[in-house]
């Protein structure tokens, strides 16, 4: 068992280094694009948020830091959930090597994206703190764990979607539809207290909202989430990951990539 795990880590390491090398060779399509995309999204939302400043903002919570704390984890999630399908399509030639499995390709690509967004998160958080003159977050370890859980949930959803899309092609469309509204209903731009309390029980089904709410609670001294539950986040993360890995194992090399 340990030997197998060591081999898998060795394979994932080789794939990550290969990813980095090919991204370096083509900077515009590699790291460069990820940073540019995130900066662009951040700038757009910042303008929007500043334009409606004063409408339901949290007292003592600076706008730029508020956005950084929620937007970058959400961008990472929406990048990672696309990865499983893309990683397999892009790495088809690598699957002809007996050492490489579909899961290795997914794990390597997800980890690579996670690393890029972690760097982006740290850089932007420092910049935002300097700009807003805001001090150290209230509970940094909690933020790190939530950021990590966002990545795992993204990968798990991607795994589930990849298999569902192979079985039934339009399955992905439903999630794309959800993701369009996800930024608003997941608390990326507005905290849950800006929504009517009557719809909180329905919104609370969304684990992304819990992560965003907890991120703000662990970051800012003046905000306490009314609905965020760490237990629910852990349950969803483990449940989705277990289900994703289970169906991946079941259909491995049985269904052709969509």
């Amino acid at each position: 068992m340990l030997q197998l795990l060591r081999v898998q880590i060795q394979v994932i390491n080789a794939l990550i280094v290969r990813n980095i090398q090919s991204s370096q060779a083509n900077l515009a399509m590699g790291f460069g694009w990820v940073f540019f995309d995130a900066f662009l999204g951040f700038a757009g939302l910042l303008i929007m948020k500043l334009a409606i400043r004063g409408y339901g903002g949290i007292p003592g919570v600076p706008t730029v830091t508020f956005l950084v704390s929620g937007l970058i984890p959400w961008l990472m999630f929406s990048s990672i959930y696309h990865i499983p399908d893309r990683a397999i399509k892009r790495g088809k030639s690598l699957l002809l090597l007996p050492m490489v499995t579909e899961l290795d390709l997914i794990l390597a690509a997800s980890f690579f994206t996670f690393m890029v967004y972690t760097i982006l998160f740290v850089v932007l958080a420092v910049c935002a703190a300097i700009y807003d003159g805001y001090g150290f977050p209230r509970f940094p370890l909690g933020i790190v764990l939530l950021f990590f859980s966002m990545g795992i949930m993204g990968m798990a959803l991607g795994l589930i979607l990849m298999i569902l899309t192979r079985l039934y092609a339009p399955a992905g469309k439903f999630v794309s539809f959800f993701m369009r509204f996800s930024m608003i209903i997941s608390g990326v731009i507005f905290q849950v207290t800006m929504f009517p309390a009557t719809i909180w029980p329905y919104l609370a089904w969304n684990p992304l909202l819990h992560v965003e709410e907890l991120l703000r609670t662990y970051w800012f001294y003046s905000y306490r989430t009314p609905i965020g539950s760490p237990t629910y986040v852990i349950e969803c993360m483990l449940g989705m990951m277990f289900f994703g890995l289970l169906i991946e194992r079941y259909v491995r090399r049985r269904l052709p990539p969509s």
Binding site: V7, Q10, V11, N13, A14, L15, V17, R18, Q21, S22, A25, N26, S93, L94, L95, L96, L97, P98, M99, V100, R253, R254, P256
Partner: protein
């Protein structure tokens, strides 16, 4: 063991039974699209059969000289580095050793896409045989390299596979007869086994000759039907007869 060729409708193999012992030098002969490469993929584990069982008790290579995993924008050394990391090779001199083996040391730091054309096939061959496997799988030929280097490549491969087993899947009976002890001939989804390579290659040649004769007959048949159509076109139709009669009247 039934297996389906990617994109094909029916099964490629049905009732296939192949066994390759330790240190055996086995040839697989088959015509185009007979499933030679698919069989190698099944053996190394990158494809699974829909039914049946594939048992592996030793370390098996990928079909050599596969080059699809090489990144054109990365250097030769980076490409070698990928394989060495993948297989957990700790030897720091591995890259240089692989390059020396195929006389491509001068291109180690050069991006693969900017290297001369002979570098890629030599690199693909070198990577396949540089690693320690109990069984090597060769797809097409044993020493796939450019013409000036072919002889040396054959020597290197022979040295490397000494004492180990290999499977050579090819459509060239001469190479299989020269390098293999036993032969499987793929025919209509099944594999006929010949313990004597010469016997197997002779059988394969007979199959090829029969196939060629069948094709020639089909071509002749097709040609004859085209000729008949032409003759029918050349026969005078009603309009032609009418036109000739009018011409006679005018005269």
């Amino acid at each position: 063991m039934p297996a389906t060729h990617p994109g094909a409708e029916g099964p490629l193999f049905d009732g296939l039974n192949v066994e390759v012992g330790d240190g055996a030098r086995v040839g697989v002969l088959g015509g185009p699209k007979s499933g030679k490469t698919t069989l190698l993929r099944l053996i190394c584990g990158t494809m699974t059969a829909h039914e049946g069982m594939i048992e592996r008790n030793s370390r098996v290579s990928w079909p050599i000289p596969m080059a699809t995993f090489l990144v054109p924008s990365s250097s030769v050394a980076q490409n070698i580095g990928f394989i060495s990391r993948l297989y957990g090779v700790r030897d720091k001199a591995f890259s240089r050793r692989v390059a020396q083996m195929m006389d491509i040391t001068a291109f180690l730091e050069c991006p693969l896409e900017k290297c001369p054309r002979f570098v890629k096939p030599r690199l693909a061959l070198a990577l396949g045989i540089a690693l320690e496997f109990d069984m090597y799988l060769f797809d097409g030929t044993l020493a796939a390299a450019d013409k000036p280097f072919k002889e040396k490549a054959a020597e290197i491969v022979a040295g490397r596979v000494a004492g180990r087993g290999y499977v050579l899947a090819s459509a060239a009976p001469a190479e299989v007869e020269k390098n293999c002890g036993s032969v499987y001939v793929l025919e209509a989804g099944r594999a006929a086994y010949f313990a004597d390579a010469k016997e197997g290659t002779e059988y394969f040649k007979t199959l090829l000759a029969a196939e060629k004769q069948k094709r020639q007959l089909a071509d002749q048949e097709a040609k004859r039907s085209v000729d008949n159509d032409d003759d029918e076109d050349a026969a005078p139709g009603d309009m032609d007869v009418l036109a000739a009669a009018i011409a006679d009247e005018v005269e």
